[in-house]
Amino acid sequence: MSLPEFAVQVEQLSYTYMKGTPFQHDALYDVYFHARSGECVAIIGHTGSGKSTLIQHLNGLLLPQTGQVNVLGYELSKSKHLQSEIRRQVVVLFQQPEDQLFEKYVADDIAYGPLQYGLSKKEVIQRVKHAMDFVGLPFETMRNRPIYALSGGQKRKVALAGLLALDPRVLVLDEPTAGLDPMSRQELLYKIKRLSRDEGRTIIFVTHSMEEVALLADRVYVLADGSNVADGTTREIFAKRELIHRYRIGTPQSVELVHTLIANGYDMNSSTFGVEETVAEVSKLLHQEVG
């Protein structure tokens, strides 16, 4: 089966929690969102902007109250019986995933998902091996380790491996690096990049960190108060200075530097972003000044 052009298409999605009760809360209003197959899309926004609600629609944990959610060609509200199939192809890594590990040994927890889908033991072992090696927990040495003996970062790798073992087309990650030390963060981001660039999986991730967006994302969606505020390529979004300040999203240091220089009258390309690019542009500037 060939890949559809759009892995995820969300149109006019609205969702209200506890509808009809005095605690009613509009989480999403008329939201749209698209991710092409193989793309890496970031979702940014403040707490309460509706990010988590949107994410839960992507694999059918929540069904749209109004609007359409189309995932890998399946129209979500209609295909209730395909729910488990969708969950195999679109996996979600929630925040603090290390809390959800329940088996005793590493290999068993990772194998849980594939086994639930009825794969043969031989195949499951293959998948577990592949997943473990990918995340950086070598199968040969780590498979029989008791999970309680692992560090937080390692446990998170186990959780991720558990999802990878399902061989999903789409990975949705909710603040995947939250709470990790800088080195583990870098490692994880690098792995996510590999999943996107090398393995061609569609990646959708939620983050507060613009550095991560700059590093990984092809396109960005900005949400606030349950609605779309802006979307575009990463470059486009970073160039929109007023937007960034209005929603106090914060920018990577490199972009801040560029904007400050422009504000002080230096002639620079305002859509510069990324460390290497910024260094190149600033070097050019310096040469001009000196020469």
Binding site: F102, E103, K104, Y105, V106, A107, D108, A111, S120, K121, K122, V124, I125, V128, R143, N144, P146, I147, Y148, A149
Partner: protein, 188 residues
């Protein structure tokens, strides 16, 4: 036991009591099965875990919470009687702890499992006994329910209690060192 149990016991009892309430109030505590009683319960497990971790006082206290929740939330008329809902549950903690303490020196892992098993059986036996004594059930009915429900419940209890307590205390069984996945020959 002094009149001032340490903070540890109070908090553990409170937290596990909270789980007991939660399990009793939502359907998580009851696994529907096609047997006489209709469900296999796991609500008694926090009682056993509390007893093993912090002693019989804690176990009894959680048992009380379990009993009262059962009294308040159950739809089965059987459990509206305090003598059936509360009194038997007070003993789960005590017995589970005794079993655990007795076997602990030999092999802690097995001690936990045994506590889980016997604790569950205690719940089944004492509750059914109370029901018979209060004339809600006849002896024959009670025995059949006890066997068809009690055994599966006890097995589930062992699995969960061991997983939780051994995991928390970071124990490993002396024999098993391998993941289940890899413990058999790979099929060709």
């Amino acid at each position: 036991m002094s009149s001032n149990p340490g903070i540890r016991k109070i908090v553990i009892a409170g937290v596990l009591g909270s789980i007991a309430i939660l399990l009793g109030v939502t359907q998580l505590g009851f696994i529907p099965v096609p047997t006489a009683a209709g469900t296999v319960t796991i609500v008694h497990i926090p009682v056993i875990v509390g007893a093993v971790l912090e002693g019989w006082g804690v176990g009894t206290a959680i048992g009380l919470i379990f009993g009262v929740t059962s009294l308040l939330e159950s739809t089965i008329p059987l459990f509206k009687d305090p003598l059936v809902a509360i009194v038997p549950r007070l003993f789960i903690g005590l017995i589970a702890y005794l079993i655990y303490a007795a076997l602990k020196r030999k092999n802690e892992y097995i001690a936990i499992g045994a506590a889980g098993f016997i604790g569950s059986i205690t719940n089944t036996v004492l509750v059914l006994t109370a029901a018979v004594l209060r004339n809600y059930l006849s002896l024959e009915v009670a025995v059949s329910v006890g066997l068809t429900n009690g055994i599966p419940e006890a097995i589930v209890s062992v699995i969960i209690t061991t997983a939780v307590v051994a995991g928390w205390k970071k124990l490993t069984p002396s024999r098993k060192q391998k993941a289940k996945l890899l413990s058999e020959e790979v099929e060709g």
